[in-house]
Amino acid sequence: MGDEQAWIGRARSGDKEAFSRLVEAYQTPVYNLTYRMLGNSDEAEEAAQEAFLRAYSRIKQYDAAYKFSTWLLSITSHHCIDRLRKRRLTWLSLDEPLPAQYAAHLASGTPGPEAQAVRSELEDRVQELIDALQPDYRAAVVLRYWYDMSYEEIAQAMQTTVSAIKSRLFRARKMLAAAQTTGTEMAEMV
């Protein structure tokens, strides 16, 4: 922690070497976030690099009263949300039926005999589920499940209120549960 504050201090005065230490320390949390948000490794790499460059250019704005990781993940998630909005796809909604392509994907996750296969099936399925969520719901889910952030921390990272985050997470869980059920039912019908 003492090291981290020293690196941040040096990076603030333009020391790229010190900032590189921060990149090494946070590369996996940042990359995992971009991967989980964007769903593919090429775009995840690009977005993670971009997030670090943005963090460097704004490092003077970092307020040491908050965790550096929260600040960095906040920049990263906003950048991913911007990228997702540019894709202009349609996301899962509580009011509309599940798109057929998601239902088919979700239905295909029935556990098989080989443990390895089941494992990667499940992982694919997790990503399918997340990919179906709209950008800011997706960010709330990923920050909650992978980063173990409290509602307060997520609200701080996403610059909104705790109640907004609560409602996003509740709705996201409801949608995912519905997607799960619909997927299974459709699999049974086929």
């Binding site: 090494e24 906003h78 992982e123 399925r125 701080q156 610059q159």
Partner: protein
């Protein structure tokens, strides 16, 4: 209890924040409500999937690629600022220095006429004449600059370039400071 209340208790349960009294009430509702029971098992399944999903590590060489971009990104900005600053300064200097030099040369030429410098000390008349010479020279210079030189392609391109550089310079200097937003 309504289905909505039951759902809210399920959320608390997933967050590990369900009090024992709430747990009892939820259990009673689930025992009696098929819809909520199905939703609860789907919610738990999704929660398990998400909670059990691994963290994907950054690919090999990632930090090095970021550092390389960091170094590359800073050069164009530094060079660009230096270029704008130096060209802007030279242009500003020329704008003042060139006409001033022309005025001086023209004045000197006017004063080196026989009736010029030798009689300068005699009186105010000569001073007035000198002033008149300066004014005349300035007028001549102005005329040369405006009428004769403006026609030349060299002057026109110089003027256009100067205008562009000054505009770019003003843009750099006049750019508003970034708004400070925490966390962004």
């Amino acid at each position: 209890m309504t289905h909505e209340e039951a759902f809210s208790l399920m959320m608390d349960a997933l967050d590990g924040a369900l009090a024992p009294a709430g747990a009892d009430r939820l259990e009673q509702h689930l025992a009696a409500c098929t819809g909520c029971r199905a939703e609860w098992s789907a919610l738990q399944l999704v929660d398990d999937l998400l909670a059990g999903a691994p963290t994907i590590p950054a690919p090999a060489g990632f930090a090095g690629r970021v550092s390389a971009r960091l170094v590359a990104a800073s050069w164009p900005r530094t060079l660009g600022a230096l270029f704008t600053l130096s060209v802007g300064s030279v242009a500003a200097l020329l704008t003042v220095a060139v006409p001033a030099a022309v005025v001086l040369i023209a004045t000197w030429a006017a004063l080196s006429q026989p009736a010029g410098f030798a009689q300068l000390a005699i009186g105010l008349q000569q001073l007035a004449r000198m002033g008149g010479a300066v004014l005349g020279a300035s007028r001549t210079t102005l005329r040369i600059l405006l009428v004769e030189t403006t026609g030349s392609p060299l002057f026109l391109s110089w003027a256009v370039a100067l205008g562009l550089v000054l505009a770019a310079w003003a843009h750099v200097l006049g750019r508003p400071a970034p708004v400070r937003v925490r966390g962004r």
